[in-house]
Symmetry: C2
């Protein structure tokens, strides 16, 4: 018994997300969000509350999608191949991102880790999710003899995660595709040898 929403809430959040990804939290104004989503300022405000909540929704959606993408990546392969596949995926995404928009997790923590505990926690959760999948794959790899038996799979997983975050960061700092790929293969060599 009321007028229904004309817009897709999820679509609006997604549009807001791309805006935030490009210009950050402080750098994105409400009018930018209005333009990005196509909604009126009133609708935006009515649906989500304030700017902070819109960002939180956008960031949460990004992390949720990242989690799903991680699951998908590790569903397609197992063992060492899965771990290296993840690294290759990150490297490829970084190289493809010629505009240097970059990963939202990095951007959000870089900008807001000082002031928002919520952002830190959400980011931590998503990264630990990756870590878990990596550790699982590496443990399997160890059983199969693909990886030396003396190393702790959990430590190796964290190391690989750090490498992937590093590749992302270096990509945004102007490192070339060749340089990034050389990091990826060096990591593969160090693990697989």
């Amino acid at each position: 018994m009321a007028r229904p929403r004309k817009f897709e809430e999820e679509a609006a959040v997604a549009a807001a997300r791309t805006a935030f990804r490009r210009t950050g939290y402080a750098g994105t104004s409400l009018s930018d969000l209005v333009e990005a989503t196509g909604l009126g300022k009133g609708s935006l405000y009515n649906a989500f509350g304030d700017k902070e909540e819109i960002f939180e929704r956008a960031f949460d959606g990004y992390c949720a999608e990242a989690d799903a993408a991680t699951d998908e990546t590790f569903r397609r392969a197992a063992g060492l191949a899965a771990a290296l596949g993840y690294l290759s995926q990150v490297t490829g995404d970084t190289i493809a991102d010629r505009e240097h928009v970059g990963c939202m997790i990095n951007k959000a923590t870089a900008e807001l880790a000082v002031s928002s505990e919520a952002v830190v926690e959400r980011a931590s959760k998503t990264l630990h999710h990756v870590e878990d999948r990596l550790a699982c794959s590496l443990a399997r790899a160890q059983e199969d003899g693909e990886v030396g038996a003396d190393a702790d799979p959990r430590d190796l997983a964290r190391l690989l995660l750090a490498v992937s975050r590093g590749i992302e960061a270096l990509g945004k700092a102007g490192y070339s595709a060749e340089e990034l790929r050389s990091i990826e293969s060096a990591a593969a060599r160090v693990l697989g040898g």
Copy 2:
């Protein structure tokens, strides 16, 4: 034959830098900079031009200091110890930074890589400087038999650089001191073994 500057230009830039490091470019207003530096708005503008130039000066100073600190780190040690010392240094700094202020290179590229080629170039230069020092140390380590002779020192240097950037990023995303240290030692094991 004129009234001299009452303030130290470098001190003002340094004060502005800490403000930018905390709240980013867009998140730091001119009044914030006035408060941080203690200068009047007019003096700031007169001395540096606009906000963008102040940031550029601050970021440039940060990178220059980082370069100097890198030289100092690699002057104190050589070979594998120097490379691992650098990694330990980054890890320690990240752990000590409980407020999650973080490295300005990461922050600046995260926020401005999309819009400012200058930031990307300055960041790239500073990171390549680290890479060069790492590569040099690792080549020496290889001669001394500390590192396997089959690996390319340049690739290993990039890998280590990526790990260090990853540690920085993970620290800002809430990773604990133990977790970060475990990454550091895993990297050491992988290299030294």
